[in-house]
């Protein structure tokens, strides 16, 4: 952890629409040059937070400050109208101006700053090269593909050299293949232009693969802020464990180093001395499938209901009598068993995360 002042500081921000609470006392810091993701299901408040930073929502309470480019004293963002904030937003719909060609779309923001014609032309040319749009400069947005439109939206925002670039579901309008390309492209661009990115997404894989740090949000509250590996390995609560990655959650009761569920007791690692209602998180890659014989010491025994072979790896879904949902195990290579086989399941108690269920 660095001790530098954060670039953007959100503190105690709340926003309600009538009875619906969109943001509930949200506080988080975003560091210089980081790729930050706001992740959560729809309606969790992530877009409201993004729009509050951009200036299109007015929080009921709290402060949002940003470090200026020269001064070290933070600027109060909430006192500025959207056109005076040193941040730019890339809209989910891209919001390209349909009556202007690509070049004019990109120039628009620079013209508003009153820069000289030469400087505008030079900066637009530069950004056209960075985003690979040079040969599309004279084309109108309607004639571009989804991926190209996204590049124009990105170019239009980064040409302004904002302190912070906000991206609202940047990849959701793209088809699967283009999305994978643009994920890499976004990362590359972020390094190249050296702008801090804040991405809003509901897609946990997208957030995990791109972001340096992720804030998981749910019902207007920040559930956990951490890097992707920590989120996956040490989720702060049941919501995060369920939302991040796949895996089976066993509901039971923890008691002094053991975990009882569905009439059995499992060994578990419990450094926090969790007691009472708890959830054991089993990630698919931690679950081992063995023969059902008692000599193999399985922790659970069940029958296979599904197997999937993905080429390099496969997944096996096992139904255990008495457990309300099936348990998934993934492993390298081809499936070793077929549907209907009785198998044993086991896992290393050190690798299964135990979480307290909040009453």
């Amino acid at each position: 952890m660095t001790l530098e002042t954060p670039l953007l500081s959100i503190s105690g921000v709340s926003k309600a629409y009538g009875d619906v609470v969109a943001l509930d006392n949200v506080s988080l810091d975003i560091r210089q040059n980081e790729f930050f993701a706001l992740l959560g299901p729809s309606g969790c408040g992530k877009t409201t937070l993004l729009r509050s930073i951009a200036g299109f929502e007015d929080p009921d309470a709290g402060t949002i400050t940003i470090l200026g480019s020269e001064s070290t004293t933070p600027i109060n963002l909430l006192s500025l109208p959207p056109n005076k904030r040193p941040v730019n937003l890339m809209f989910q719909s891209y919001a390209l101006f349909p009556h202007m060609n690509v070049r004019k779309n990109i120039m628009y923001g620079l013209q508003r700053e009153g820069l000289s014609k030469e400087e505008i032309a030079q900066r637009v040319d530069e950004v056209l090269i960075t985003t690979g749009l040079t040969d599309k400069a004279a084309v109108r947005p309607a004639q571009l593909s989804g991926g190209q439109r996204q590049r124009v939206a990105l170019a239009r925002a980064i040409v302004k050299r904002p302190r912070l670039l906000l991206l609202d579901e940047p990849l959701s309008a793209l088809d699967r293949k283009v999305r994978a390309e643009m994920q890499i492209e976004l990362k590359r661009l972020q390094h190249e232009v050296g702008i801090t990115f804040v991405v809003v997404t509901h897609d946990q894989e997208e957030a995990m693969s791109m972001a340096d740090r992720i804030a998981v949000m749910h019902e207007g509250r920040v559930q956990q802020i951490a890097d992707p590996v920590t989120l996956y390995a040490q989720p702060a609560n049941v919501f995060v464990a369920d939302f991040i990655g796949s895996g089976s959650l066993l509901h039971g009761v923890a008691n002094q180093g053991s975990f009882s569920a569905y009439g059995s007791t499992f060994p578990c690692h419990n450094p926090d001395q969790i007691a009472g209602d708890a959830v054991l998180v089993l990630r698919p890659e931690e679950v081992r499938i063995t023969a059902a014989a008692p000599t193999d010491n399985p922790l659970m025994v069940g029958s296979i209901i599904e197997t999937h072979f993905y080429g390099g790896s496969s997944s096996t879904t096992v139904r255990v009598a008495g457990v309300d949902h099936p348990i998934v195990a993934s492993h390298p290579g081809a499936p070793q068993y077929i549907v209907g086989d009785q198998v044993g399941l086991s896992w290393n108690p050190q690798s299964a995360v135990l979480l307290q269920v909040q009453p």
Binding site: A54, P82, N83, L89, Q92, A95, L96, Y108, A142
Partner: protein, 256 residues
């Protein structure tokens, strides 16, 4: 599709029903004879007679004054009304009230306007016709522009603000241009409607400044002359040109 070719029969019949009366009118406007039942050869004399007719010429000038003035005013006010309604009142009722003058019977509107002008003491003249045409024209423009707003990405204006534009710059550089096809279509619609509007004009016009439809009406009372046919054919030409160019403009600006 080609297998059900017999469906062309009702199609052709329908078009014939629609266009034969108009075709007859156009053909008769070139008939040298005054008698519609007797074709006496091709002639353009009725067209030249038109231009010599002082009453028709004055009526045409009056109509143009009303149509151009009403189009300009109705387009500006209707556009602002549409933006206001779309932005601040997301209510079907408010939207319906903005469209009502376009839908209520002309006669009702005409009587209402006449009563209103009498009440506030406006002398009936071309100006009162112009104002009356602005009333329904505005409703048509706002209907077209509201539909256009519905098709426009609502984040365009926010994007403009985000890129550093003031509210005023955003209005003139983003809002208006993105609504332009609707605004132009609405303006042309108002122009064609105003051009041949009779009922409202008849009620709200002063006696010394008849518009062209009123002039035609007073002439027709003594029988349809070939001169009237020629005039109607010219009006038809103007309306068709405007409708086709409106469609073209809308399509061109849509194919961005």
């Amino acid at each position: 599709m080609h297998k059900i070719g017999w469906l062309r029969v009702p199609l052709v019949a329908t078009y014939a029903f629609l266009y034969i009366p108009i075709a007859v009118l156009v053909v008769m406007s070139f008939n040298a004879s005054k008698n519609p039942f007797n074709w006496a050869g091709f002639s353009t004399k009725w067209y030249s007679a038109l231009f010599d007719n002082e009453l028709i010429r004055q009526g045409f000038i009056n109509t143009m004054i009303v149509a151009v003035g009403a189009t300009i005013l109705a387009t500006i006010l209707g556009t602002l009304l549409a933006i206001g309604v779309a932005r601040y009142f997301r209510s079907a009722v408010v939207e319906a009230y903005s469209l009502a003058p376009a839908i209520i019977p002309d006669l009702v509107l005409a009587i209402g306007l006449l009563a209103f002008f009498a009440l506030i003491g406006v002398t009936l003249s071309l100006f009162s016709v112009l104002l009356a045409h602005v009333v329904f024209g505005m409703a048509f423009v706002s209907a077209v522009v509201i539909a256009r707003i519905g098709q426009t990405d609502s984040s365009l204006e926010e994007a403009s603000r985000d890129l550093g534009a003031s509210a005023t710059t955003t209005f003139f550089r983003i809002t208006l241009p993105s609504l332009a096809p609707g605004i132009i279509a609405g303006a042309l619609l108002v122009f064609t409607l105003s051009l041949d509007e009779f009922v409202v004009a008849y009620f709200t016009d002063g006696p010394s400044t008849p518009t062209l439809p009123i002039v035609i009406y007073s002439m027709v009372r003594f029988g349809v002359t070939p001169e009237i046919n020629a005039l109607a054919a010219l009006l038809l030409l103007v309306s068709f040109t405007i409708v086709i160019s409106a469609q073209r403009i809308t399509r061109l600006t849509d194919a961005v």
